[in-house]
Every structure is written in C-alpha cells, then in structure tokens.
Amino acid sequence: MPEGPITSVPGGQPGVSRRNFIKGVIAAGATVSASAYLFRANIAGQDSSLPGSVERLITLNVNGQERRVDVLKHETLAMTLRYKLGLTGTKLGCDRAECGACTVLVDDVPHYSCSVLTHTVRGRKIVSIEGLAAPDGTLHPVQQAVVDGQGFQCAFCMPGFVMTAVGYLKTNPNPTRAEMAHGLSGNLCRCADYNKILDVMMNAAEGMRRA
C-alpha cells in the first residue's frame, strides 16, 4: 500500500490517514493491499452518542474464527470477505442478488453476501465455502458429492450452490428432487449444468444423512 493516502472525497469532511488505524486491525490472513478497496472517510460524520450509531472496527465470526475487521458503513459482506479477509471463494457474479454466486450462510441460513451489509451480521455466525471442509482437508459431504459426481463446469457458481445446498439441507434433510430444485433455485448456473447439479446434490443429501 502506498504511504498514507489521504482518503477523503471532495465535498466530504477532511479525510484522515487510515494507515495507522488499520495497522494490526486486519486479522491474520487478510491481504493488506486489498484493504484499500473501500477506503473512504465518513462523509456524514460520526456521533457515537446517538442511539444505533456503529463503530467501524467490528468483530466478525467467520468460519468459526473471531476476526477483527475495519468495515466501512456501506460495505457489503461479499466485499469484506473477499477484500478484507482474503476469502475469495465467495464469488461476485452480479452484485445484485440475482445470481447466487456469493451465497454464504448467516446463522446457517443462505444469504446473498453481495446484498448484506457487513455491519448487519455482527455477532452472527458466517460460513463461507472456505469454512466447510474440516481442518484436515476432509470435505463436507456436499463438497464430496460434487467431487464424486464431477459436478459443475466452470464452477464460478459452485461455491454459492454448495453453500445454498448446505443451508437448505439443514431445513430439509430428505428432499425430493423437485424440492431440492426449489431449494437451490436461487442460484444461477450459466453453464446450465442444472441437471448434474441436481444429481450431485441429491447424492449430497444422502451423504449428509449418513454423516
């Protein structure tokens, strides 16, 4: 990162150098250079005495770890995961809640992380594709089913589909094929490998029931 850029925008309040503030803030594993991604000084100012006002420095529970992160007020979860925490497995396909590639679990429920403010999920349990496999590399049953069935083609949609399937199967462990299709229907696959995806996810359901 270049030496302390003044990160103000014209029309806003005078900026402050965030460099020192950031030091030590970004949790281990984050790619520091990418933290420049969303830097910008507050424009409306901050009066922390007001009810409901929020701090930028927050703690997130991601993939079972507590991570201290500096998060801008207008930052989405997808951006925090990808550019602050280095978790690039979560993909941005549309950034507009219409493809599902960025799906992550928030308290076990699938959400489009492009359309969630990071500040909204403070204190909630976030799981991204990187958090599914066991630390020893053992794949989650859904991941294993994908591998066993050579599921997906370009796989840009895959992390989103896998997360949706994991979340959906928690609510319906024994779905019919049609139910599974509805459960996964919020994810778009442009290779249109839907049939094979349904095949492997039905196997995944079985794998999860066994696990």
Binding site: A44, D95, H111
Partner: protein, 337 residues
C-alpha cells in the same frame, strides 16, 4: 455534463437502532436525509446504481420488536422485519392464512426470501425498467413516462388506472394481504396510523412518486391480519417468465367464504396490472351469493377486466388476468380436472 456510473455503493452514515423509539428518533432527526432499510434488497439496487445517495441509512435489522409473528385473537400480527421465509413457513400463517404463506413462498428466490422482509415486500418501489434506469420520468420527478410512448417497450406495465405513469406494483404479498383484510401499522412521529392494506397503496394520480402512503420519517411496523378470513378457501397464482426471481406479470389472490357451493363473501385482488394492487370490488359483489361454478367464474373473469386500457405490448394481460380471476373463483385444483 458530468458522467454517470452505475456501480459502487456511495458512502453513508449507518445507524442500527435497537428499538422503534430510537428508530423514530433517528428518522425525525435526519428527516429527508435518512433512508430506512429493511432487508435491503430494494435499497441496494438504488444505492449501487448511485441513483440515491442518502446521507444516513437506518438499518432496522437490530430492532427485535419489529420481528416475529404473534397470535392476535384469531388473527395474527406480523412484524415488518419478519423475513418472508418465516412468513411462508410459519405454522400459524399456514394454518390460518395459507394464502399469504403461498404468496410469500413465490417471492423472488429462496435467498431473497431468507433476507427480504414482510414490510419490505409491501413497501418496495416500482420495477419499471425506465424508472429503475434512473431516467427522469414522472415517478422520478420528471415530466414524461418513457414507458408509455409510441416506441416504448411496456410488456410489464399497467392496464388499469394509469395516470401519466404506467408502472405497476410488483409485490406478491400485497394482493394476499388486501384479500385478507389486513391492516398496516404505521408509526408517524408520535402517532400510530392503522390503515387498511388497500389504502396503504397509492396510485400515480394521487402520488406519482410513491407506491405507498409512507412518507419520509414514517415507519411501517407491522401487518395485522384479523381472524375474519382464517381457514377460508384461498387461491393464489403468479404468472411470470422464469419461475425464480421474476416479478409477476400478473398475480391473483382470492379469499372465499362459501357455504356449500354458494359464495357468501369473497375478496379478489390482482397485482401487476396497476400501480396499486387492484382490488376487484365489483367482482366481489357480483359473486356474492352465486354458485361457485364455471359459469360464475367465467362471468367474474369477464367483469374483472372491464375498463382495461392496454399499452402496445401488454394486451395479453387482459386475457391472462381474466383467466386468473376465473381460476381464483373456481379454486385450486378445479381447473386441471
């Protein structure tokens, strides 16, 4: 003229109040500078397109009292921040008001239902693609409707009650709520308005820039459904191009109280055809006391579309609406036999 860019959310100050009182305080304090965010799905579109740049966003996600479904003496009360998935899968809703559960279950996509809220779904803005492109149309405060010109593409637009603007209300839950005689609970400063769902929505003639009566500073806190229609016969159908994400081309919600084969009371609401969910009071009156059969359904369908004024590309909405109203009278299952 400066260039436009339709990507990257502009910065704002964020507030995450934990009570309705604090929320109202923030809204009063910031006035028109404040933007109320529920699930955020409509909000993010406006912000990421940089078409709205509020100074302050008030995120309701931490207001616990706005969440949840309560039993209210035969009826229910649904907090505005209750997610659509919760509404669609809630046992009480399914038992008493299957119509709402069904309509809610057909909104957008599973993830959107997991995040989108009851309040957000009824209060969402129009999806007219000219308006959403940021063009200076009537709805955006300008002096033209781009969707109602000789060359406009207006397949998804209104066939009823257009007044300059021809956008439609995109909500799936709104017609169900109107059919169930629901009431909207709105906090306006110190006062609380309880408005029939039907009157919560406004047409372009009355207010061309908003789809509901919510003004800056207002807060929709809950939806109340009285017990009147609990357990009655319901029908909901949504026609759209793709079975996920897409908004309804036309949808229909009906609640029918029938004794034997005779309809004693009915509610019929169609959406996707005008800027307000379109309640068919004339049809409701017509079917009252009539036998619930093919003939009544047929006549009801014909009556429903009376006065429709289609645009160049949406004439199909007339027969489509007619068919849906017909089915809504006949009821589920009847038409496939």
């Amino acid at each position: 003229m400066p260039a436009a860019i339709r990507d990257v959310m502009p910065a704002f100050e964020l507030f995450q109040p934990t009570s309705v009182a604090d929320t109202l305080g923030l809204l009063e304090r910031h006035g028109a500078d404040a933007w109320v965010m529920g699930g955020g799905l409509d909000t993010f579109d406006w912000l990421k397109d940089r078409l709205r740049k509020p100074k302050v966003v008030v995120d309701l996600s931490a207001v616990a009292e706005l969440r949840g479904i309560k039993d209210a003496g035969g009826g229910i009360e649904i907090g505005a921040m209750t997610t659509l998935t919760e509404v669609a899968t809630n046992a009480l809703v399914k038992e008493r008001f299957g119509l709402l559960a069904e309509a809610t279950g057909l909104v957008a996509s599973p993830q959107i239902r997991n995040q989108g809220t009851m309040g957000g779904n009824v209060a969402q803005d129009a999806r007219c693609w000219y308006y959403r492109a940021g063009w200076p149309c009537y709805r955006a405060g300008g002096n033209i409707c781009y969707a109602d010109t000789p060359t406009a593409v207006n397949r998804e637009h209104a066939i009823f009650d257009a007044d300059r603007c021809v956008a439609v209300n995109p909500s799936d839950t709104a017609p169900a709520l109107i059919a169930l005689d629901a009431q909207m609970v709105v906090r306006r400063g110190a006062s609380e308005l309880v408005v029939p769902a039907q009157d919560f929505f406004v047409g372009p003639g009355v207010d061309i820039t908003r789809l509901t009566l919510l003004r800056p500073g207002d807060l929709l806190t809950a939806v109340r459904i009285p017990g009147t229609w609990a357990g009655k016969q319901f029908y909901f159908e949504k026609v759209r191009d793709r079975q996920v994400w897409d908004f309804a081309l036309v949808n229909v919600a009906s609640a029918i109280n029938a004794s034997g084969n005779a309809i004693s009371e009915a509610r019929l609401v169609v959406n996707g055809v005008s800027a307000r969910p379109y309640r068919l009071e004339a049809v409701e009156a017509f079917v009252r006391g009539k036998a619930r059969d093919e003939q009544t359904a047929e006549q009801a369908g014909a009556l429903a579309v009376r006065g429709a004024l289609p645009l160049r590309h949406n004439a199909y909405k007339v027969p489509l609406m007619k068919a849906l109203v017909k089915r809504a009278i006949r009821g589920a299952g009847a038409w496939t036999s």
